[in-house]
Amino acid sequence: MNKILLALKLLVKNPLYLLLALVIALLLFLVYFVVNDLSYYRSALSISRGAWFLWKIFSHHLWLVSQATSSANVAAVGLVALLGGVNLSLTVLRVARTKVFIGRAGFPALAGILGGAVGASCAACSTALISLLGVSGGLALFPFKGLEISLLAIGLLLSALYFIGKSLVEFGQI
C-alpha cells in the first residue's frame, strides 16, 4: 500500500505526468463506453456531429447505463479509467527516468485496462462488447451487471501500480 501511495505522490509532484494521467483516463473512459456501443454512436454521429449534441449523446448513455445497472457500475468504470491513466503515465515516467522498459506491472496493467472495456455497458440490449465474446445477453447475465468485472480490473490495476511504485523505489526515484 505504501508503494502505491509513494507512486501517487510522485505523480502529483510532476504536474505534466499528472496531466498525462488525467488525459489518458478521460480518453479511456470515453473509449470504454464507445467501443461497447458503436452502433449507438454511429447512429448519433450520422445525425449530427455538433459538440453539444455529442455531449448529450454521451451523457445520455451514462444515464442509461446507470439506470440499467447502477451508478456504482459507471463509477467503477470511471475508477478503472483513472487507474489506467495513472498506471500508463507512471510507466512513461519510469521509462523516462530509468530507461528500463520491462517491468512486472505490464501484464496486470494491460489486463486491467482491457477489463475496463468489458465492464462498461451499452445503450442497447445484445450489442455489448461482451456479447461478441460469446456471451449472449452480455452483462445482463452477471448478478451485478458487469460491476464484478470492473472490480477485478481495479484489483489488477492496483497491483500494477504497486509494482510500478516498487520498481521506482528500487531505482531510487522515490
Partner: protein, 265 residues
C-alpha cells in the same frame, strides 16, 4: 543610469525529462483533432472479418413493413416511427420513461408522427419477454390499439426488466386495471396465433437484417441488431416505409433532429 536589459536564455536541456510526456500529450491531441476533422468515428466496415466497405452504410434506407401492428397516433401522420421492442430490455424501459413522452407530446399528439410497435423479444430475456409481448397483443385483441399502448405502459411500469418480468399475477392485474375481461384475457395468453404474431415479428427482423445488411453491418462485421431498434421514414400507403435505422435508446435530441429534417423535406 543606464538600464541593463537582463539576458534571457531558454535552456531546453533543463526540460529534457518532459519531452516524453509532452510528446505523448501532443500526439494524443493530434490524433483527437484528426478524428474530429476527418469525419469523426468512421469505422466503415474496416473489420478484418468484413473488409468489403460496400457492406456498411449507416445512412442506408431499408424497406420496413408496419405489418398489422399497433399504431399510436394519427394513422395519416406524414412520418412513421417503427419500434422493435423487448419488454424486458432495460433500455427499452428507459426509452419509455424518458424519451417517448417527449416524442409523444411534440410529434405524435400533434399529428406529425405515428408510432408502430413491433415485437422483438430477445431469447435471453425469455420467457418474460415473450410473455409480455403476448400479453400486450391480447390486450389489443380486446380493446384495440389504444388499449395495446395502455397495456404497454403498464408492462414497463411494472416490470423489473432484464428477464425478471412482472410479479406473479401482474399480467392479469394490469388487464383488470384497464377494465379488460380477465377470463378472455387469460385464455388469449394461451392462443397459438398470438404467439405466432410475436414470433413473426422476430422472424421478419432477422430476415430484414440479412436481406438489407447495409446499416446493420458497420460495427462488428456481421449484421447485428439490439433493442430498442427504430426505423423512421415517411409514411406510405403501401404499408412499407423507406426507413432509416436508429440504434439503441437514443435521447430525444436524436429523434427530434431526424424528424424535423424529414418534416422539412
Amino acid at each position: 543610469m543606464a538600464f541593463k536589459k537582463p539576458k534571457f536564455k531558454f535552456d531546453w536541456r533543463k526540460y529534457q525529462s518532459l519531452y516524453l510526456p509532452a510528446s505523448i500529450l501532443l500526439g494524443g491531441l493530434v490524433i483527437a483533432l484528426a478524428i474530429i476533422f476527418t469525419g469523426g468515428l468512421n469505422f466503415s466496415g474496416n473489420s478484418t472479418n468484413n473488409p468489403d466497405l460496400s457492406t456498411c452504410d449507416p445512412d442506408a434506407e431499408v424497406p420496413v413493413s408496419v405489418d398489422n401492428d399497433a399504431v399510436l397516433g394519427d394513422p395519416n401522420a406524414p412520418l412513421t416511427l417503427i419500434e422493435f421492442v423487448d419488454y424486458e430490455c432495460p433500455f427499452c424501459k428507459s426509452f419509455f420513461e424518458e424519451t417517448l413522452p417527449q416524442i409523444k407530446s411534440q410529434y405524435i399528439d400533434t399529428g406529425k408522427l405515428k408510432l408502430v410497435m413491433r415485437d422483438f423479444p430477445l431469447d435471453f430475456h425469455d420467457p418474460a419477454a415473450t410473455d409480455s409481448a403476448i400479453a400486450a397483443n391480447c390486450a389489443r385483441e380486446q380493446g384495440g390499439d389504444s388499449t395495446y399502448f395502455s397495456y404497454h405502459d403498464e408492462i414497463f411500469t411494472r416490470t423489473g426488466a432484464n428477464g425478471q418480468g412482472l410479479p406473479s399475477g401482474g399480467y392479469e392485474a394490469a388487464a383488470k386495471k384497464l377494465g379488460l375481461n380477465t377470463t378472455s384475457f387469460n385464455s388469449c395468453l394461451k392462443k397459438d396465433e398470438i404467439k405466432s404474431e410475436v414470433t413473426a415479428d422476430l422472424d421478419y427482423l432477422s430476415q430484414l437484417i440479412q436481406d438489407y445488411p447495409l446499416p446493420f453491418s458497420c460495427d462488428y462485421g456481421s449484421p447485428t441488431i439490439g433493442t430498442p431498434a427504430f426505423f423512421l421514414g415517411k409514411s406510405d400507403s403501401s404499408g412499407t416505409i423507406q426507413a432509416r435505422f436508429i440504434s439503441g435508446a437514443q435521447p430525444f435530441a436524436s429523434f427530434s433532429q431526424l424528424i424535423d429534417s424529414l418534416l422539412s423535406e
